[in-house]
Amino acid sequence: MAIRKGLGIGSMYYGIGYGFSRADIGSAEIEMAEDGTTTVYSGACDMGQGVMTVVTQVAAEELGIEPEQIRVVAADTGSTPDAGPTSGSRATFVQGVAVQNAARELREEILDMASRMLECPRENLDVHRGEVCEVGTDRPMVSVGKVAHQLHFHGRRAAAWGWHDNTTQDVDPETSQGDAYATYGWATQLAEVEVDTETGRVRLTKLVSATDAGKAINPVAVEGQIEGGAAMGLGYGLYEQHILENGVPRTASLAFYLVPTAMDVPDIECEIVEVPDPRGPFGAKGVAEPATIPTTPAILNAIYDAIGIRITETPITPERVFFAIQEAKSRGEFSDD
């Protein structure tokens, strides 16, 4: 075994949202029942990454109620409005604002009714943890549930609609100049690799992922995205190749198409960077793709740091590294010691 270690950096930026003049919208309805429990009808698909949780937290923050009081109904053309696709790292950034807009409007209805009930000026009232309070105090005056009951009892609106349009114009057809995206995600990763110079096998032994979330609405969910992204980036760099021969798949089974397992994924250090973006909800932006893109470049650069040989073709299989080392040896550019 001849193991050489190396460190490498990969950075990226990624236009968040749809771009190219394509509709890039979010929308949601929010409805409060007579007991103050609230339902958000959110068109955004949760892929498992947690956009339903983000929607819950944004609505809870804006309404001043507990997340436990909120249920999200998601992604059904029969019951939720169109919120665009969950792709392009856009769901938090775009749908988050739509939910914020809906919740703010409902909050106004609540405070308006509370103001009548309490005979207290609207501007003196605020909502905290499900209780209407005087601004600047935590002293509960009336529960949101009781206010909601009055809204329903008097036939007042206890629901609201929120919309957000993040559509950006396409770039110039000749020069590609223009404001291509509303905002960009940013990330840098540091990879540590071990290269076995006898077999060409590369192992990722450590990964540090500094990913700008703008504002991490749910830090554990952001860490989930960062770790998942790194695992997918690692699979792209080292293992996963769909081979076609004359257009016919030769790797159409997980026996031949290799995905990383728990044995392959190293310790991943999540460094959540927060540079607030005023265009996102509470400064937040998407991290799904930014957390994935830098891994393979960081591995490529770490391999160069380890053995002084640049690999320019992916995936970085043992064969590819082995033969690159043999070629470098034949040119006198690599020695075993």
Partner: protein
């Protein structure tokens, strides 16, 4: 987590920035969530697909008679049985729910079976007789760029050519003290979501076609399903079922039109669940790309120009490929201030599997090239790769490759600085360059 705690106390929010538990965490952890593959509806039929398995051919005949007579079979359908346009596609309608005139990729569906159980459906699929006349397949970038090659679709095999032009390339080259030139090749990748493609369709008593499916966008599904099946859009309801990952591939139509068609024809609920092998054969993949980049810098470490070409293999359908490859082009500089740019991208049809959206969306490939170029330049200049990036990265007041002025929310320097701090705190150093600091 100690950092998290300090952040939580410092901020003015109640719920933003807190680790609120996902509402579906418990059911997922307990294995109680019902995915489409777990759903059973009374009277439900099971669907199977006959895949082309060959990249390019004229379809002479598909004989379904024996399959239709097999035990337990409720329907065997080909393109001739589709009531609507039979077409779908996210950018252009160049994909067919069931192949009609030609096979364009090995992942094309030729026929559909619905039967009482999966085994009966599989046996019936094996009884379908297909008569194909092979055509020369377009398989490489070179094949696709050849104007005399057989066109896969009308209009030739170069679907899109985009151009990024900024500053004065010749001046950038002239100002350069070091220039690095290299070619990079990236490969085809599958998304491998834990849950393969799956859908369940039924027609309800009011005549609405309901489709439960692991999707990333039900409204866009509806927009494609209705014309393909000749239904008014308000008679199609698409519900996102609990999903086991998508990573871009479930942006596209997957099982929707197939289960919808079978449910309409049989008037019974129909469920389709791909095997892993089918999932690897069908639907979209990550674009392979070939990238040639030439990048320059001055002796003081400032980038001067990027001159590059990107070729992307989108397979037999555009899906979102034209946007993927265009996005690769406008991200080809990476997150750096590059004053002079020429980048051309080419979106090429081939008879390979369709490539579409996948986490990273073109920037995954571009970053392989731009980050390798950055390191090569840093090494030539004798600079730390980290310091070289910090020096050149976009900052408020600077403009991206598309001339977009950076303002708030420009976080690249902060991520580089975080890595620099991490390395310094642990005394980590690159072997082949100066220290991180």
């Amino acid at each position: 987590m100690s950092e998290d705690a300090s952040r939580e106390t410092a901020q003015p929010y109640h719920w933003i920035g807190r680790n609120v538990t996902k509402p579906d965490a418990l059911e997922k952890a307990l294995g109680a969530t019902e995915y489409v593959g777990d759903m059973v509806v009374p009277g439900m039929l099971h669907a199977k697909i006959l895949w082309a398995g060959t990249p390019h051919a004229v379809i002479r005949n598909i004989d379904t008679r024996e399959a239709a007579r097999a035990p337990g079979v409720a329907a065997v359908l080909t393109a001739a049985d589709v009531p609507g346009t039979n077409r779908y596609g996210l950018a252009v309608l160049d994909q067919r729910a069931l192949a009609d005139d030609k096979v364009r990729s090995a992942g094309d569906a030729l026929a559909l079976v619905a039967a009482e159980d999966e085994e009966a459906a599989e046996e019936a699929v094996a009884k379908i007789k297909v008569d194909l006349e092979p055509l020369r397949p377009i398989l490489t970038y070179k094949d696709a760029l050849d104007p005399d090659g057989p066109p896969i679709h009308e209009g030739g095999n170069v679907f899109q050519h985009t151009t990024v032009r900024k500053g004065d390339l010749e001046q950038g080259i002239a100002e350069s003290d070091v220039i690095v030139e290299d070619s990079y090749h990236t490969h085809r990748m599958d998304h491998v979501p834990m849950e393969p493609e799956a859908g369940l369709a039924y027609v309800d008593p009011s005549g609405v076609l309901n489709i439960l499916v692991g999707t990333q966008y039900p409204y866009r599904d509806r927009r494609q399903i209705a014309p393909a099946l000749d239904l008014p859009m308000n008679k199609v309801r698409v519900v996102q079922a609990p999903i086991g990952g998508g990573f871009g591939r479930k942006d596209d139509i997957t099982a929707e039109i197939h289960v919808g068609l079978l449910a309409l024809k049989t008037r019974r609920p129909v469920r389709l669940v791909y095997t892993r092998e089918e999932s690897l054969i069908a639907n979209t993949k990550r674009h392979p790309m070939a990238m040639s980049f030439r990048t320059g810098a001055r002796a003081d470490g400032r980038l001067t120009f990027l001159d590059g070409d990107i070729y992307g293999d989108t397979g037999a359908g555009i899906s979102l490929g034209a946007y993927v490859i265009k996005k690769a082009g406008i991200h080809a500089t990476g997150p750096y201030d590059v004053p002079n740019i020429r980048v051309d991208t080419y979106t090429l049809y081939t008879n390979n599997l369709v490539s579409g959206a996948m986490r990273g969306f073109g920037v995954m490939q571009a970053a392989v090239a731009h980050e390798s170029q950055m390191d090569q330049l840093a090494h030539k200049l004798g600079m730390s790769p980290l310091e070289f990036r910090i020096k050149n990265c976009l900052k408020p007041g600077l403009a991206s490759s598309t001339g977009q002025l950076m303002n708030e929310g420009c976080g690249i320097e902060a991520t580089l600085q975080r890595i620099k701090d991490y390395m310094n705190a642990r005394d980590l150093r690159f072997k082949r360059s100066q220290a991180a600091s």
